[in-house]
Structure formats: C-alpha cells, structure tokens
C-alpha cells in the first residue's frame, strides 16, 4: 500500500511542473505587467524600461519562470490590482470562508445521500425506491441556480429564517457569537448545495448496492447460509461504500474551489466570488493565482482519492 501511495505521489511531481509552466505562460500571455495600476501611465518610458530591466522582465522565459517559482515558494503571488492587497492574503481570507461552507456542505451531502441511496437500493423496485428516485429526478431536472434563488427568496427574504448575504454578521463579537453567526450564514447555502449534490451520491450508491445484491459473491455468501441482513452489512454495504469513500477525496477539493453560483446568490465572500470578480475587473494576478490553485486542488483531489482507494481496495495496491 505504501508503495502505491509513494508511486502516486511521485507521479504528481511532473504533473505539478507542467501545471506551473502552463499557468506561467498563461500569465505571460495576459495583458498588462506587474506595474500596471501602480505606476502612472504617463511616466517616462525610459524609466519603465529601467524598472522592467531591474525586475528581470527582459530575461529569457525560463529564467523568468524560475524567478516566478521561487517567489511562489515564498508565498508571493503578487498584488491584486483591484484590492491592492497581496493575492495570498486575499486567498487566505476567502479560502477560510469557502472551507467552512465546503465542509458543511460535504458533511450534509453525505448525511443525506448515503442513507437515501442505501434505503432506495434496499427497497429496489418498491414504493420507497420510487419516491427516492422521484426526488433525485426532480432535483436533477431543476437548474441549481433556480434552487438557490428560490431557497434564498423563501427562507431568506420571505420567512427571514436565515441571513441572505455575507459570511458573518458585522455586529457579532466574541468567539461564541461569531461562530454562531458564521454557522447561521452557511446553513442555508450548505443545505441547498447538499440537497442538490446528494443526487449523484444517491444514484451512484443505489446502483452500486443493486449491482452488489445481484453479484456472484453475494450468491456465494447466501449459499454459505449467511442471513441476508448480515450479507448487507458485511458484503453489500461495505463494497458499495468504498468507491464513494474514494470519491469523497476528490469532491472535497472540488468544493474548496468554491461554488460560483452559491457564492454569487448568497453574496458569500469565498473563492468562487473572488474568481468571478477577478474576471470582471480583469484582475490578472488574482486570476493567475486562482487558476494555479484550482489546478493544484484538482491534482490533490485525484491524489487523495487514489490514496483512499488504495487503502480501501486491495485490487489497486502494488504488492
């Protein structure tokens, strides 16, 4: 198992290098330079030329790439033109907000999705199964932003149960109160996200369990005289949950990218909204940093799910 994990981590190194080169080239291709916004455009061209020289902007691209990587390792991703703050600081603040919402959504998704999927499969073809499937079809056929808008309109504005924007109330003070306020801000978007995200899990788990139920190894277990309820526990559920456990590794990093829809509708200051604004304001350093981050999260996600899979599934291990 350790061999598998080690090999998997080693594979990631060239992936990371390729990703960073691509993002670097992307950044170079964007209009503007590191001084855009901080220098008077009417300044003496000779002076600008001098500045460019000092900062190595005439160096060959690999030299510049190397400098860029060194800065990256020092946590220097440049300044945001729009916010006039270091990009790293921005990402830290927004990232924390997104992290809370992501974790909350994820936990809810699994808490709702797993039992529902198991329940439907257990009652395959019966009324209970049909009800669950109606639920999944309904959520699947409504666009996510409609769910969000309806949700915020009903529970936020009409019923006034939940706040409709921000990540924490400005008036909250003290650890207890701020925590409660933060929680209050993520309940509704988290719940809506979970109700929506749950569809995949329910359908996936349902079909996994049904496949397992009709599998040859379950027939073997039955012919050993194992009661059906034990077969569910020891064979069916376990085998069906494993691929989902592996998928969780991937989906958590996906959620960390922030949901653009959710954050937009709820004016929730997270990564998704940051990215959207950066595009609107052509805040290139932020865009570059976020693209790099998203790429990195993606690679981490597949790494994580491969590792989980190698822990739970003996077939993918190298002995």
């Amino acid at each position: 198992m350790w061999k598998t994990i080690l090999r998997r981590v080693l594979i990631m190194i060239p992936e990371l290098i390729i990703l960073s080169i691509l993002v670097f080239l992307l950044a170079k291709a964007m209009p503007g330079d590191p001084f855009t916004g901080s220098i008077n455009p009417k300044a003496d061209p000779a002076q600008i030329h001098h500045l460019m020289e000092i900062h190595g902007l005439y160096d060959p691209w690999y030299q510049q790439y190397w400098n860029w990587v060194v800065h990256l390792f020092h946590g220097d991703l440049g300044m945001s033109y729009e916010y006039q703050e270091p990009v790293v600081t921005l990402i830290q603040q927004r990232g924390a907000n997104t992290l809370w919402l992501a974790l909350f959504t994820m936990v809810l998704t699994y808490v709702i999705g797993l039992p529902l999927g198991l329940y439907a499969a257990h009652h395959e073809g019966k009324l209970q199964d049909t009800l669950v499937r109606v639920y999944t079809y309904v959520t699947m056929s409504i666009p996510f932003f409609v769910v969000l808008v309806l949700g915020i309109w009903i529970f936020g504005y009409a019923l006034n149960w939940f706040p409709t924007s921000g990540s924490v109330s400005a008036t909250a003070s003290g650890l207890g109160a701020t925590t409660m306020s933060r929680l209050g801000h993520i309940i509704l978007p988290g719940l809506l996200g979970a109700l929506f995200g749950t569809v995949n899990i329910v359908q996936y788990l349902r079909s996994e369990v049904i496949d397992a139920k009709h599998s040859d190894y379950v027939r073997t277990a039955r012919s050993k005289g194992v009661p059906m309820k034990d077969i569910y526990r020891h064979h069916i559920f376990r085998n069906s949950l494993l691929p989902i456990a592996a998928f969780a590794g991937y989906s958590i990093t996906g959620l960390l990218g922030g949901s653009i829809f959710t954050e937009m509708v709820f004016s929730y200051p997270g990564m998704g909204l940051l990215f959207l604004n950066a595009i609107n304001f052509r805040d290139y350093t932020v865009i570059t940093a976020l693209v790099l981050l998203y790429g990195f999260l993606n690679l981490m996600g597949t790494l994580l799910s491969d590792i989980v899979l190698s822990i739970v599934d003996p077939r993918v291990r190298i002995e």
Binding site: S215, D216, Y217, R219, T220, A221, R222, S223, K224, G225, V226, P227, M228, H234, H235, R238, N239, L242, V312, D313, P314, R315, E319
Partner: protein, 343 residues
C-alpha cells in the same frame, strides 16, 4: 461401475421451477425426479439453457420468491427443503449443502481476504474458536491442493489465478463437511489442464467426506471422467437417466445420442463433428406437445413421439423419456442400423 451402498439422502420429486416473464410464469425446470446417494457423483448434463443451473439454485433455495414459482418436493435427509423459510434454509446452506459456482472470478468478494471468506461459513455453522477456524482453513487449503496455505489465506482473490480461486470456492463449499455438494460447471471457465486438477480435487473430496455430488456440466468429457450416474437434461426435463456405463454404452434418447455424437473424440479427430440442428427453445417457446427435442430431429415422423412423453424403464433403472428412441436414426445412417448405433 461402482455400486453405491448407502441410502439416497436427496430425493427430488416432481420439482418444477417457473420464472415470471412479463407477468406470466414459464417452466425452466419441469417435473424433475432425481435421487442422490452418499458416495456418488451424479452428473447432470445438457446444453446451455436446459435448466441445469435453475435446478441447482432451486435445491439451494436461491430464487427470489416473488419472481419464481416452485412446486414439488425436495426431500433432504427427511426435510422438505421447499417448505423451509429463509432462516430454516440457512441451517442447510453451507452446512449440509455446499455449492460451487461456474465463474471463480466473480464468486469471491474482491475486498475480503481468502481466510475471512472461508471462515465466514464456519462462523455461521460451527462453534469453533478463531484459532480452530484458522487451523481448519489451512487444512482445507491443503486439501484442495493450495501449495502455500498460510500465504494464500492472507491474500485477496485478485492475487490468485482462476484455478486457485476455484479451489478456494471448493474449500468454502466443503468447509463444514456437507453431505451434498452441488458443483455447477465448476471447470467451464478454466483451462483444460486446470480442469482435470479440479475434477481430481472433487473426486478426492467425495471419497474423503462420503459426500454425494451433483456435478452439472455441458461437457460429456467431464461426465465420462467423473460421474457414477448421469441425468441428461433437455429443455427443463430429464430425458434420460442411468449409470455412466448405461449412458455411454447404450444411449437411448435421441438427445443423448446426439450429444455423444457431437462430442469431439481422439480417434476421429479429423472427422467432421456432428452438429445438432437448431437451438434449445426459450422458456416462452417450449413445445407443449410431443417430445421437446422433436423439432431438432425433424426427419423423425411426429408419430414416433408420444403426445405427453413419459419416462420408461429400459432395464436396470435406465430411464428414457418418450418412445421415439426405438426408431431413432441419424440422417446419414440407414434406418435399419440405427438401433445399434452408439455415438
């Protein structure tokens, strides 16, 4: 031929199994009567689709009661299995009846160690301690011819070859020393050399445990090598039944004779093989009148078949369905010589 001394302990009486297809029930197994004795291997042979597996899973009670209708009686050591509920059946499955399946690649749980999969059956039927169970696992693995039992016990199914996996399945089936072992095409998915080894293992076990074995196969070669008695099954019915000697030396039913004639043999390797016309009918297309095999021997006049073919004893418990065997001949043979032809 070995004359078996012990009593029959499995008596299948008039068993039919029907599947629900589009709301209607169709027989896959029709009025089967069979017995199995201790210390014998009964082979059930027939082409694919003849209902052999359905019969096996009917004995094991593995059919979904909402999709199947089963009638008749399966008397196992004095208990009618068909009257048992799920809980009662579980006392027999694995303990008194062991089953070996066709596909060793999918019959084991891919995520559980071999040891756990073998121990599982003991957990439900014995009071052995963990240590005793482990010892028994090693003993079983030795018995089925696994070379490094300790190591194999610790492995996962995907680390073993098909032949090894089939040995594991056999080990599971015999772990609690069942009186009856049902082996449904145990060698079909394996290489020829492995096939022979697996059959050896089965024969050894039968001798050691005094078990009765139902060996299901479509391969007459396997039957010739292992069986004491043979039941030939066609389209859900037993069409001929007798000792291996009777079936191989004096086959009667046209289906048995056709099967034997289509079996590749060493001496006439270069001859063209006989091919039985047509196919096994699907459940919905089962002929209601006459011998079910009649459509596949169209040169035999309809008058040769009984309207509702019955089993006839042609001597020494050699049973044949329908009277059409009396005048059966192959198209390339003259009618007169037909009666003496054996494969």
């Amino acid at each position: 031929m070995v004359e078996t001394k012990s009593d029959q302990f499995l008596n299948i009486k008039n068993v039919s199994t029907a599947f629900k297809i589009n709301g209607q029930y169709y027989d896959a197994v029709s009025n089967v009567n069979l017995e199995v004795k201790h210390d014998e291997i009964l082979a059930i042979v027939g082409e694919s689709g003849c209902g052999k597996s359905t019969l096996a899973t009917t004995i094991m009670g593995l059919h979904d009661p909402e999709e199947t209708k089963i009638s008749g009686e399966i008397d196992f050591e004095g208990t009618d299995l068909l009257k048992l509920d799920e809980k009662g059946y579980n006392q027999f499955r694995g303990a008194k009846i062991g089953m070996i399946f066709q596909d060793p690649l999918s019959a084991l749980n891919p995520l559980k160690r071999i040891e756990d999969q073998i121990q599982e059956v003991m957990i439900y039927h014995t009071k052995m301690t963990e240590q005793q169970r482990h010892a028994r696992v090693i003993e079983l693995l030795n018995q089925v011819g696994i070379e490094d039992p300790e190591r194999t016990a610790h492995q996962f199914p995907h680390q073993l070859s098909g032949g090894m996996r089939q040995r594991i399945i056999i080990a599971i089936a015999i772990a609690c020393k069942p009186d009856l072992i049902i082996a449904d095409e145990p060698t079909t998915a394996l290489d020829v050399t492995i096939q022979a080894q697996i059959l050896d293992v089965l024969r050894d076990i039968q001798k050691e445990n005094h078990a009765g074995i139902i060996l299901i196969t479509h391969d007459l070669g396997v039957v010739a090598e292992t069986a004491d008695r043979v039941a030939v099954m066609y389209a859900g019915q037993i069409v001929e039944q007798g000792t291996a000697a009777q079936i191989f030396n004096e086959p009667k039913h046209p289906y048995t004779r056709s099967l034997l004639r289509s079996m590749p043999q060493r001496e006439n390797e270069n001859d063209e093989l006989y091919v039985i016309q047509g196919m096994v009918p699907s459940l919905q297309k089962m002929p209601k009148q006459g011998d079910r095999f009649a459509p596949r021997i169209p040169w035999i006049p309809a008058s040769a078949h009984e309207a509702q073919p019955k089993m006839h004893d042609v001597g020494d418990n050699h049973l044949v369905r329908c009277t059409c065997y009396k005048n059966f001949y192959f198209p390339d043979q003259v009618k007169e010589g037909a009666g003496h032809e054996s494969n």
